[in-house]
C-alpha cells in the first residue's frame, strides 16, 4: 500500500497535478508520525503510512506557509483519512478553502469517506480507524454514564476536569475547524475570557470552545488527543453532536451541499428572531 501511495504521489508531482503534498513522515516519536510537505517527486520516499499517522492533516492546509506553496495554478495534495475529508468538507462549506485548490488522495475503505475525494487508495479497515471506532464507542458509553449523574455531580465532574486545563490552547490549535484569525480567547480589548487558568477562566474557555464547534465539529478527536492534561473534551463535543443530530438531523462534514444548520436560516424558521 505504501509503495502504491509513494508511486502515486510521485506521479502527481511529476505531472504537476499538485505542487505539494501533505502527508506523514517518521520523526522522533515512535508512537506519532509527523506531518510533512513533499514538493519534489523523489521526496515521496520519506512518506510513511501507519497507525501512528494521527495529527489531522486538514489543519495544515490552512497554514499560511502552506498556502504560499500552492503557487499560481497548482493544487495542494493531501493524503487523507476519513476525518481529514470530513474536515475538508467543513472548510469548503465555510468557505475557508476552494474545492478546486485541493487534491484529495483518500486512504482507507470507501464506505468511511464522504464522496468528495479525487482518488482513493483502498485498504482494509486501518488499525488507526479501528482504534477510533472503539474510542467512539467508549466515549458514547461515558456520556451515557455521565447523564445518570445529578446536576451537582455533573458540575463537580467538569469542575474537576477543567481545573486541570493549563490554557495551552493545543485543543484549538490542532482543531481543523478552529481557523479564526483572532480567537475569542485572544480578544483583549475588552478581555472576554479570563486568560488565567483559574476555575472561571478555564470554564469559560472550555465551554466556549465546545459551543463554537457546535454543528461544526467533525469528530476527529484531535483536541482531546492534543490536550496534554487529558481532559475528556470529546464528551462535550459528542454530546453537542448528538443534540444537533436530534434537533436538526445534521452531521457535520458529510456533504458539502447540505447547508450547516447553525450558520444558515430559513424564512419559515419557528424562531421569530432569526430574521
Amino acid at each position: 500500500m505504501l509503495d502504491k501511495l509513494k508511486q502515486r504521489i510521485k506521479e502527481l508531482l511529476t505531472n504537476k497535478i499538485v505542487n505539494c503534498v501533505i502527508g506523514y513522515e517518521q520523526g522522533d516519536n515512535p508512537t506519532l508520525a509527523r506531518p510533512v510537505y513533499i514538493t519534489k517527486p523523489n521526496e515521496a520516499e520519506r512518506l510513511v503510512y501507519n497507525e501512528y499517522c494521527i495529527p489531522i492533516l486538514a489543519k495544515y492546509i490552512l497554514k499560511p506557509e502552506v498556502r504560499s506553496l500552492k503557487l499560481e495554478a497548482g493544487k495542494i495534495g493531501i493524503i487523507a483519512k476519513p476525518s481529514d475529508v470530513r474536515a475538508l468538507v467543513g472548510l469548503i462549506q465555510e468557505k475557508q478553502i476552494i474545492r478546486e485548490d485541493v487534491y484529495i488522495i483518500a486512504v482507507g475503505r470507501k464506505e468511511d469517506f464522504p464522496k468528495i475525494y479525487d482518488e482513493i487508495i483502498e485498504t482494509p479497515l486501518s488499525e488507526l480507524d479501528a482504534k477510533r471506532k472503539t474510542q467512539d464507542a467508549e466515549q458514547l458509553k461515558q456520556i451515557a454514564e455521565f447523564e445518570k449523574k445529578t446536576p451537582e455531580e455533573k458540575r463537580a465532574f467538569w469542575q474537576r476536569e477543567f481545573d486541570k486545563c493549563i490554557k495551552c490552547y493545543a485543543c484549538r490549535q490542532i482543531c481543523p475547524l478552529c481557523y479564526c484569525r483572532v480567537c475569542i480567547a485572544d480578544k483583549n480589548q475588552p478581555q472576554w475570557i479570563p486568560p488565567m487558568p483559574n476555575s472561571g477562566g478555564n470554564f469559560s474557555w472550555n465551554m466556549i470552545r465546545a459551543y463554537h464547534l457546535a454543528g461544526r465539529c467533525i469528530d476527529c478527536g484531535e483536541c482531546e488527543r492534543a490536550c496534554p492534561v487529558d481532559i475528556p473534551l470529546m464528551m462535550l463535543n459528542k454530546k453537542i453532536q448528538q443534540m444537533i443530530k436530534e434537533k436538526f438531523d445534521y452531521q457535520a462534514g458529510l456533504d458539502p451541499e447540505v447547508p450547516p444548520p447553525l450558520s444558515t436560516y430559513q424564512e419559515d424558521d419557528k424562531e421569530k428572531f432569526i430574521i
Partner: protein, 332 residues
C-alpha cells in the same frame, strides 16, 4: 546518610503531619502530576514523568499580584498579595531541580521578582536520582546527569537493596535531615544505583555559535512546518518563564493577575499597531530555540534547557527540539 524504605515512608509522613504541604509525583487516572499528597503511599516515581514540571510551585501558573478597592470616600485601598506557603517537594527529577536556580537568574536580574525569589527561598527540594530515562531525555547533552545535585536541598539515591542514600546539599536540607536524624543511619557500604543516564546526543558547544550566525537559515522554515503554535512545549517546560499580566476590575475593586504566557502564541508579539514581528510559526519556533540556546546563555551564561524532553514528549505534532539540535550539529 542512609534511610530504609520504611523510614523514608515515616519521614515523608512526618513531614506531612508537620503541616507543611508536601508535593510529590502521583498518578491520577493515566496522568502523572506533581500534587500535594496526604500520604507516602500516593507517591509514584515511575515513568512517565509528570506532564507538567514542578515549575508551577516556583512560578505559579497564575497568581494575584495585587488587589485594591475604593473606600467610602473614593480613596484607594491596596491589599498585599497572599504570601506563598513553604512547600516541601519530594521526588523531583535532577533535571527539574537544576532548572530552579537557572530560572532564578532572570528573576533576580534587573528587576527583582519577589514572587519567584520568595518561593525559591522557602521551598525545600528533595530530589531522587533517576534510575531510568526514556527516548526523549537528554540531560547528559546539556551538561547534567541523573546524579546532578544542582538546585536540590537534599539529594537521594536508591541503593541495590531499596534503601536510600540521602545527602544534605544546602543548609536547609542538612537541617531537615538533622531534625529527623533518628530515621537516618550512617552510610553502610552499600552502593547507590549508578545510572549514567541517556547517551550524549549532540555537542552543546557547537549550538550557540551556529545560532549566532544562522538566524535566517532556510532550515528554520523546513523544520517548523508541523508546528501548530500551541503552548504545550513552553508550558510543560521547567525552564520557560514568560508571563503575561491582566487586570480584572469592577467599579468597586480590582486585582492584577500574572499568568504563564508562551512565545509560541501569535499574540505574544503583536504590537498595539497590529504589526507582528514574529508573524509566522517558523519565526516563533526559531525564537524558542534561539532564546534557550543563544540569548539566555549570552545574558546569563547558562542554557535555558535541562534536557527533560517534555517539549518533545508532549508535542501534539511531533516537533523535536532534540532533532533540531542534532540537525544544527550536522550543519556545523
Amino acid at each position: 546518610m542512609q534511610i530504609t524504605k520504611t523510614n523514608l515512608e515515616q519521614f515523608i509522613n512526618e513531614l506531612i503531619k508537620s503541616g507543611k504541604p508536601v508535593v510529590a509525583p502521583i498518578r491520577e487516572n493515566n496522568l502523572s502530576a506533581y500534587k500535594p499528597i496526604n500520604s507516602f503511599n500516593q507517591i509514584n516515581l515511575d515513568l512517565p514523568f509528570p506532564t507538567k514540571s514542578a515549575k508551577e510551585y516556583f512560578l505559579a501558573d497564575y497568581e494575584k499580584i495585587l488587589s485594591y478597592s475604593f473606600g467610602e470616600k473614593g480613596q484607594i485601598e491596596m491589599k498585599e498579595p497572599d504570601q506563598p506557603k513553604e512547600l516541601i517537594l519530594f521526588g523531583v527529577r535532577p533535571c527539574e531541580a537544576a532548572s530552579f536556580p537557572i530560572m532564578n537568574k532572570v528573576f533576580s536580574w534587573d528587576s527583582q521578582d519577589k514572587f519567584y525569589q520568595e518561593r525559591l527561598a522557602k521551598n525545600l527540594v528533595i530530589t531522587v536520582a533517576c534510575e531510568q530515562s526514556d527516548d526523549f531525555c537528554f540531560c547528559t547533552s546539556v551538561g547534567l546527569s541523573p546524579q546532578a545535585t544542582d538546585g536540590s536541598d537534599i539529594f537521594m539515591r536508591k541503593t541495590q537493596t531499596g534503601d536510600y542514600l540521602a545527602e544534605g546539599i544546602t543548609d536547609k536540607g542538612k537541617n531537615l535531615i538533622e531534625k529527623h536524624k533518628d530515621l537516618f543511619a550512617e552510610n553502610s557500604n552499600e552502593k547507590p544505583i549508578d545510572y549514567k543516564g541517556p547517551e550524549k546526543k549532540f555537542d552543546l558547544k557547537k549550538i550557540k555559535p551556529w545560532l549566532e550566525k544562522n538566524f535566517e537559515h532556510p532550515m528554520w522554515n523546513q523544520i517548523s512546518l508541523p508546528c501548530i503554535g500551541c503552548g504545550v512545549c513552553t508550558f510543560t517546560c521547567p525552564n520557560c518563564y514568560c508571563f503575561d499580566m491582566v487586570d480584572e476590575a469592577t467599579l468597586k475593586e480590582g486585582a492584577r493577575y500574572k499568568m504563564w504566557d508562551s512565545c509560541q502564541f501569535r499574540m505574544f508579539t503583536v504590537h498595539a499597531s497590529g504589526h507582528n514581528p514574529r508573524d509566522n510559526q517558523s519565526k516563533r519556533f526559531r525564537q524558542r530555540i534561539e532564546h534557550k540556546f543563544n540569548y539566555y546563555p549570552d545574558k546569563f551564561d547558562h542554557t535555558l534547557c535541562v534536557g527533560c524532553g517534555r517539549c518533545i514528549r508532549h508535542c501534539p505534532a511531533d516537533m523535536s527540539l532534540l532533532e533540531t539540535l542534532i540537525t544544527i550539529n550536522k550543519l556545523t
